[in-house]
């Protein structure tokens, strides 16, 4: 039976807003482990498995290896057992280290719930048969398990009996596809860097392509003259080509330069790049994409067009949009650069009291443009206007009011003390229709029907 060591950081994913972020933040932990043990398998964000034999030999025993790996992260828990399944459960039960001796798996597993099989349907079925522990499941006759539950059931049955022999396949990301370029003298300008990286990026993608793999996400690490490292993972809607990688390198340098000049006088500004490392984050068989592209040639075309536009305007120059939750129109709009996954914080489907009803305006003012409302457009305690609005003034041009309606309260974030805002609909004599928001005694334009 293979001895397996699992490192688990409990509720790792809950520490981050997005799944992508949790993976990104986990990468340094993976690296730290890989410094000690070369072949690891990432089971998910927060959990890594590896063969225990090598580390045990190096650290003189499994407990020595467990102690060494525990130091990778303060919250890390280590489980060592026969087979992956038992080792994962051992890590979950560890505080902070639990070593299940060889041959003891059945005894360790026996009292645990069938829920740990990770198959809710199967667990449900077993409970209805009166089997609630892995020990109970293990006692069932293996021939009848196979007859009744088929191959998947037979596999889980082996797990419950402590006979999991799934191989520890090393980390999905073969480290040897990574390439590193070193520059001397250092490169400061993004376009120079892009030029210098062109051949390297092509080689990087070609080597991956030779193995009939396609790269869909890539890590770019920039190292500055002062030794600072700037790392980012870039995803691609389809498959990276060499030029796409070059664009990402350039965007990253631009965003790093912007970030550091904005926040401090020191930092990155003027500091050159001495090293660029490219490493695939996700690889997939090429065949999957060949078929996809064949079926939808136009989206491939769209992608190449938009990549070209992004190479002119920058990554943030091309946006895709989705609708999220919120009460004002601006809050509900979610933009993300082409190629990035949108981050939706609020669910659009939930009720958002105070939001504009359907049939929303075509022009939305995102910058809180101020507008003067003539008459005394002050909200009285009775939530009415003290006087009807008579005119609007925008950019020095006065428009007489033809019709109006409101004000409607938008209560939001009262727990933050955000207070109540009001919304007013106004039609001017040219026929233009406006939606205004109160900001204290003043008004801003939320939107316009044009």
């Amino acid at each position: 039976m293979t001895r397996v060591l699992v490192l688990d950081i409990p509720s790792w994913a809950d520490r981050f807003d997005t799944e992508a972020e949790s993976h990104r933040q986990f990468d340094p932990v993976i690296r730290a482990v890989e410094n000690t043990v070369p072949l690891v398998r990432v089971l998910g964000a927060g959990r890594i498995a590896m063969g225990a034999r090598g580390p045990a030999r190096y650290y003189r025993g499994e407990d020595g290896a467990a102690e060494a790996l525990r130091r990778v992260h303060p919250d890390a828990r280590i489980g060592v057992a026969d087979g992956l399944f038992t080792a994962v459960l051992a890590a979950r039960a560890a505080n902070p280290v639990l070593i299940v001796p060889a041959g003891d798996s059945p005894a360790f597993l026996a009292p645990l719930s069938v829920a740990h099989l990770g198959d809710p349907d199967m667990a449900d079925l077993l409970r209805r048969l009166g089997v609630s522990t892995l020990g109970g499941f293990a006692q069932l006759d293996d021939v009848s398990v196979r007859d009744r539950f088929g191959f998947p059931g037979e596999r889980l049955h082996r797990f419950a009996r402590g006979l999991d022999d799934s191989p520890i396949v090393p980390r999905d990301i073969p480290i040897d596809y990574a390439v590193e370029s070193v520059f001397d003298p250092a490169i400061v300008r993004a376009d120079e860097l892009a030029f210098a990286m062109r051949a390297t990026a092509d080689d990087f993608i070609d080597r991956i392509a030779r193995d009939r793999l396609a790269c869909t996400a890539v890590w770019v690490t920039l190292t500055s003259e002062r030794g600072e490292r700037f790392e980012r993972c870039w995803a691609h809607p389809t498959v990276f080509a060499g030029t796409d990688v070059v664009d990402r390198v350039r965007w990253q340098l631009e965003s790093v330069a912007r970030l550091t000049t904005d926040t401090s006088t020191e930092g990155f500004a003027g500091d050159g790049i001495v090293g660029v490392r490219l490493a695939p984050d996700q690889l997939a068989p090429q065949s999957r994409f060949e078929r996809g592209m064949w079926g939808a040639p136009s989206s491939d075309r769209i992608h190449s067009v938009l990549s070209r536009v992004q190479s002119i305007l920058g990554h943030e120059g091309v946006l895709t949009a989705t609708i999220g939750g919120g009460r004002t129109l601006v809050e509900r709009e979610i933009f993300s650069p082409w190629g990035d996954k949108p981050v939706i914080e609020h669910d659009a489907a939930k009720p958002w009291p105070g939001r504009l009803p359907d049939r929303v305006p075509t022009t939305v003012y995102r910058d809180g443009t101020a507008i003067m409302v003539g008459g005394t457009a002050v909200i009285s305690p009775a939530e009415t206007l003290a006087e009807p609005p008579r005119w609007l003034e925008l950019d020095g041009r006065r428009r007489d009011v033809a019709a109006w309606s409101g004000p409607w309260p938008i209560s939001e974030r009262w727990w933050d003390g955000g207070g109540i805002r009001y919304r007013l609909q106004v039609v001017d004599t040219t026929g233009a229709a406006w939606v205004l928001l109160s900001a204290g005694p003043d008004w801003t334009i939320e939107a316009r029907y044009d």
Partner: protein, 222 residues
């Protein structure tokens, strides 16, 4: 692997390709793209692939022209509209999965519009104050080659048709009461010197109010 190699490897896909070529060689259908019924009479029944439509600055009118052409498939891009309301785009029936916004193309306006015309079905663009005739004809040539429909908010030398908003009636809102429930937008179109008018109802699935409807009756009689 080369494209040719890929074809050899996937013979079944080659037959799919033959099928597609047969389809493309089939009897020619009307190449015009569908448009909102209220506007179809103004522009000869539909949008001409490769055509350039110059509009007065109304995003509602632009969306009314664009929506049906990309409702089923095809991609739509908006260039130069930092204030375009995304929810309005989705609400009129354009899938946000096939929509991109390039809000601030800045000085690269002409390059960007030219680029997206090479791949997108419909491109809605706000033109700068004046478009040099040479730039306009260069972009129009790309659109003609690719069959993209270019909808420009602003002047455009040599446009296929020019549409402008001639007046709006706002419905449902009164003097301190009600809520805007609809708008009847009177649109005037000039194609090859001939002027026509029609009423575009907003929301697009609403029937126009009868008071402004005679324009439609007139068109029906002729």
């Amino acid at each position: 692997m080369s494209a040719a190699g890929r074809i050899v490897e996937h013979m079944f896909e080659l037959s799919a390709l033959r099928e597609r070529i047969r389809e493309m060689e089939g009897p020619r259908v009307d190449p015009r793209l569908p448009v909102h019924p209220a506007l179809s009479g103004l522009i000869g029944g539909g949008l001409v692939p490769g055509g350039v439509y110059s509009l007065s600055p109304s995003l509602t009118l632009a969306l009314a022209l664009a929506t049906e052409a990309v409702a089923e498939s095809g991609w739509c891009a908006a260039v130069g509209f930092p204030n375009l309301g995304i929810e309005a785009v989705a609400e009129c029936g354009i899938s946000l999965n096939r929509f991109v916004s390039i809000p601030t193309p800045k000085e690269h306006w002409a390059t960007v519009v030219g680029a997206v015309c090479d791949g997108f079905t419909v491109v809605i663009a706000r033109s700068p104050a004046s478009v040099p005739a040479a730039t306009a004809s260069r972009i129009a040539a790309v659109a003609r080659r690719t069959g993209a429909v270019l909808i420009v908010l602003g002047e455009w030398p040599g446009a296929t048709a020019r549409l402008e908003v001639d007046g709006v009636r706002n419905l449902g809102i009164g003097d301190g009461h009600g809520l805007l429930t609809g708008r009847d937008i009177r649109v005037r179109a000039v194609t090859r010197g001939i002027t026509k008018t029609a009423v575009l109802p907003w929301p697009f699935d609403r029937e126009p109010e009868p008071a402004l409807a005679p324009v439609r009756h007139l068109r029906a009689v002729t």
